[in-house]
């Protein structure tokens, strides 16, 4: 197995490594929070190790899953991990929208209260 790498093998090695580095760079620039980067780092870490050591990890997993073409196993596992991340995002969005709603309600109620208090201070002033 020490002959030249096929195109597929090159993509399997370089793709996840590139994305892993992109995630680290986004965290460094504070464009991505550390806690939200963990899922991505884990996903790409798994894919990197599969791409670098296909004989050790990938072939046994592919055999376990009954998949003949090994890169397909990598594809399936990457997709599964990504679905988990997307699901987590939906949970986060749900929490954010609830908190956002509560914040908006408080703002609306406070505005009404301020309006009332202003009118009490200066009843002549219009709106």
């Amino acid at each position: 197995m020490f002959n030249a790498l096929s195109q597929t093998q090159i993509i399997m090695r370089l793709g996840p490594i590139f994305l892993f580095v992109v995630v680290l760079e986004l965290v460094r620039r504070r464009k991505l929070r550390e806690d939200y980067s963990l899922g991505w780092l884990f996903t790409f870490g798994v894919l990197v190790s599969m791409g670098l050591f296909p004989q050790v990890i990938l072939s046994s997993i592919a055999e376990f899953m009954g998949i003949i073409y090994e890169p397909t196993a990598m594809f399936v596992i990457g997709m599964g991990l990504m679905m988990i991340i997307l699901l987590q995002f939906s949970v986060v969005i749900t929490r954010l929208s609830r908190e956002n709603k509560q914040a908006a309600q408080v703002i609306a109620l406070l505005n009404t209260r301020i309006h009332e208090l202003e009118e009490r201070l200066d009843p002549q002033e219009e709106n």
């Binding site: 609830r98 908006a104 309600q105 703002i107 609306a108 109620l109 505005n111 009404t112 009332e116």
Partner: protein, 262 residues
């Protein structure tokens, strides 16, 4: 405009008795409104005429038109959302307002003029003379001339059947937003109210929390102005979303009902 159908002497006596029995009751009319500048002034005036003792709060859900200004010019208190929150969150803001200020009863009257303010005393009387925590004004208990498009009527019947089966009581108009809530129901809703399309789901969450619900017949009007936001695709989405929400709410742990004395 069609006048309120004449109440029977028994109903009139009941209404008089109820208002005499609860003179000190603090009543808040909650009017959710989204782009209703054409109808909101009319609704406020009719509400004031029907229940002069009530305070009126208009909750403007980030309208693009002059809903808030028109409501203020009619001497209603206005709560303006910073952006469009959706009907559930908008109405809930009214319940939070009512619970913060210690109102005994809220009655929700939609800003589009569909709900007839002359029916408010009937809702109030039903709330005060029963052991219920929420009274819903139903278009469909008696035929009072309200016509619904056939497909929407079918959806409404399906939801009514589902909710009736779950709560083991007859619910005929689950999508009606014309509702009176007592202190316990207000306190519960201020803490937990569905996000969008809230009316049918709220019946089930109320029932799960041990709050009692009752329907009374009311007449409803066609819209005065503005446009309904309902399209066939939204209706289908509505049915699926609400059914899912109701079924999942059954899987949640039961919440205890608040004591409403806070």
């Amino acid at each position: 405009m069609v006048d309120n159908p004449v109440n029977t002497p028994v109903e009139q006596a009941r209404d008089v008795l109820a208002s005499a029995l609860y003179p000190a009751q603090r009543l808040l009319i909650v009017i959710p409104a989204y782009n209703e500048e054409e109808s909101i002034g009319h609704v406020i005036e009719r509400v004031r005429h029907a229940v002069p003792q009530a305070d009126i709060v208009v909750i403007d859900d980030g309208s693009a038109d002059d809903t808030a200004q028109v409501a203020r010019s009619h001497q209603a208190t206005v709560i303006s959302q910073p952006y469009n929150l959706g009907i559930g969150a908008n109405v809930q803001t009214g319940f939070i307002y009512a619970s913060q200020r210690g109102y005994d009863v809220t009655i929700q009257v939609d800003g589009d003029g569909q709900h007839d303010p002359n029916e408010i005393p009937a809702l109030l009387a039903a709330l005060n003379t029963s052991t219920c925590d929420m009274v819903i004004g139903s278009r469909y208990i008696e035929d009072r001339g309200y016509s619904t498009p056939r497909l929407r009527r079918l959806g409404s019947i399906l939801l009514a059947a589902l909710i009736s089966a779950i709560t083991r009581q007859r619910i005929t108009d689950p999508t009606s937003g014309f509702r009176a809530l007592n202190r316990q129901a207000i306190a519960f809703s201020a803490g937990d109210y569905p996000f969008d399309y809230p009316e049918p789901e709220a019946i089930v969450t109320f029932w799960r929390a041990g709050l009692r619900v009752k329907e009374v017949p009311v007449k409803m009007n066609p819209r005065y102005g503005g446009r309904s936001s309902i399209t066939p695709i939204r209706s289908a989405y509505y049915m699926i979303k609400v059914t899912l929400a109701i079924l999942i709410s059954l899987l949640r742990e039961r919440q205890s009902k608040p004591d409403g004395t806070s």
